[in-house]
Symmetry: C2
Subunit: 407 residues, 2 copies
Amino acid sequence: MKAVSGGVTAAKGFEAAGVEAGIKYKERKDMAAIYSRKPCVLAGTFTSNVVKAAPVMWDKKIVEESPFGQAVIINAGIANACTGKEGYDYCKQTAIRAAEAFGVPENSVLVASTGVIGMQLPIERIKAGVDKLADAKSDTIEAGTQAAKAIMTTDTRSKEVAVEIDVKGVKVTLGGMSKGSGMIHPNMCTMLAFVTSDAVISKELLTKAVKEDVKDTFNMISVDGDTSTNDTLLVMANGMAGNSEIKEGTPEYGVFKEALHYVNETLAKMMAGDGEGATALFETKVIHATTKEDARILSKAVICSSLTKAAIYGHDANWGRILCALGYSGVMFDPEKIALYFESKAGKVLIYKDGVAADYSEEEAGRILSEPYVSVIVDMKMGNETATAWGCDLTYDYVKINADYRS
Amino acid sequence: MKAVSGGVTAAKGFEAAGVEAGIKYKERKDMAAIYSRKPCVLAGTFTSNVVKAAPVMWDKKIVEESPFGQAVIINAGIANACTGKEGYDYCKQTAIRAAEAFGVPENSVLVASTGVIGMQLPIERIKAGVDKLADAKSDTIEAGTQAAKAIMTTDTRSKEVAVEIDVKGVKVTLGGMSKGSGMIHPNMCTMLAFVTSDAVISKELLTKAVKEDVKDTFNMISVDGDTSTNDTLLVMANGMAGNSEIKEGTPEYGVFKEALHYVNETLAKMMAGDGEGATALFETKVIHATTKEDARILSKAVICSSLTKAAIYGHDANWGRILCALGYSGVMFDPEKIALYFESKAGKVLIYKDGVAADYSEEEAGRILSEPYVSVIVDMKMGNETATAWGCDLTYDYVKINADYRS
């Protein structure tokens, strides 16, 4: 597996574009498209929220019922959530226009939206944007980057990743882009992630790989615990690499899953580290847990704890808050047995063991916590399972961004 | 039922005190005692956190095994949590000293602590504090207030309430005090609440009443979702009112439960409204839910949502965030059927129905949300069950209080 530059246009046969459509923002690109020259098998995972945005309902139907997908139209600024029948009809109108403009079947067009809930899309501007996207689309790396920029809301950085693998002597590429700033932002932000590949793989196997992998990647990040109405991950594979089909239980499937995991984890970590107002990517790794599920629950409890997040912002080695979060997670353990460490580029320090504080230097711990990427390692000493979760610190700017009147 | 002035000393035979013991704070009272002239039946509920502070373990044992309780010793500044055997031994030493100083059996002494996790108590200062408390104790209203002030940490106001009821012609009083600023603060704050009564009631019935009532009072508040290691509610009844014993299934038990509910709810709301950094008490009332449990889950999801809390701070009528929180609560419902209202002293406004925004004035909604006590009413239109939860807004000061280095 080799990391390469680029994003959704890295794999063969994929084109992308980002254009100014004037949806809500001014003087910035706010619509994007992904297009594949050949039809793609599709896999998707969507928000578990009972309140689902219209584009989520549209895409679920396409992923479940259509034989393939070929284009994705995305807008930033308005989420098209809680918009009733009118909102759903706008998804259909967008797909019809894209089918014409891109020359693909209507039921191969996916749509995604991110932004404010409850507002209707300016559908004529969306349609004009679709035409512009069809004209602008290109297979260059730069075109992928423009798409990644166009889907940002409160994100401060665009998010792209690409990787190459070898499938029986044939080069297969996976690339992706996402926006945040969490799973987890129902107003101005929503998690959207798009992964493209030129691999030859069946829809069933691609779906299986995606569903397994999101448990350890996108579902392990949190910015503020608020699960969005619009969360969408779409994975498209167009088969243009020409590899022999990737089959379950083969070494090639292992390599493909590893590459997919790398792409998903990289995009997920980028989102967590660029959470609203964040100054640090905050990772929690739970080791030696009894079950994988326990490890996931424990690590997520720590990265979701408001008090722990505020302590990370304060570069404060407040292990009591971490222990407290583990304690209310719902997983049973003996607090006297576990050990806690802080780790970053600046070093690693044991801070808690045998039921009491370890003998560590506050100064050293503070130095470790001053890095932009800090980890807590929780050694449960109970079994052999591991999980990692990613979040960010809780800062003044998180409050500022989300309390309009005060900002 | 009649509200009266005072707190833990309102009921007959109860004394209290607050003194400066120099535990951690300077020039303020930081130790408190509650003492009953006669032995009390006891009921208690404690944190569900796996990581339990030493005083929680001590008190659970006393409540379960002792025939009665007669004194409570409380300190602020240090939580005595994650302090191992030494910490538990300090609870015992405190009880022994209090038994001597107050002239009560050792196994009738309860202890409670709130403050920083992981630090050992300065036990000699605690012991000296116990002696001072025994000297200072008094049955005046002022003595109760001094105790309520001494147990504060980041609280900005002391919290007391008292109420009188009539039990077959005999006046029975219930009084209480608490500190916050939530359930829910493992470092500087912990929920501690103490309720005293002169009622004649059995331990079994008192325990039943308390366990039922906390589901709708203390367990329905949240400041930041972090369940403390020290949360403690103790209810003591010394029987000195001389009423005929309150029995289950009688009108008198109904009156007693109503009074207990009033005391608990008042203390709980005071804690939520004085959450760390809070500028407003934020209430969510769910009506017409299918089950009581659904109503509780839905209302708590809204008051726990960081984005909704930030919107309340911003006086922003962001109903999308509320709908989103209801949607990820785990309760199934049809978003097209429910209705949302904002309400405060300044008025009431319908903001969402039939799946889309209602026709309301942003200005009016902003005026309603500018009050220090604001409510969201969620009409599920599914059944007949109701629940209310209380939280507070998420502010810059919450971050400031909890990110030491930055403040």
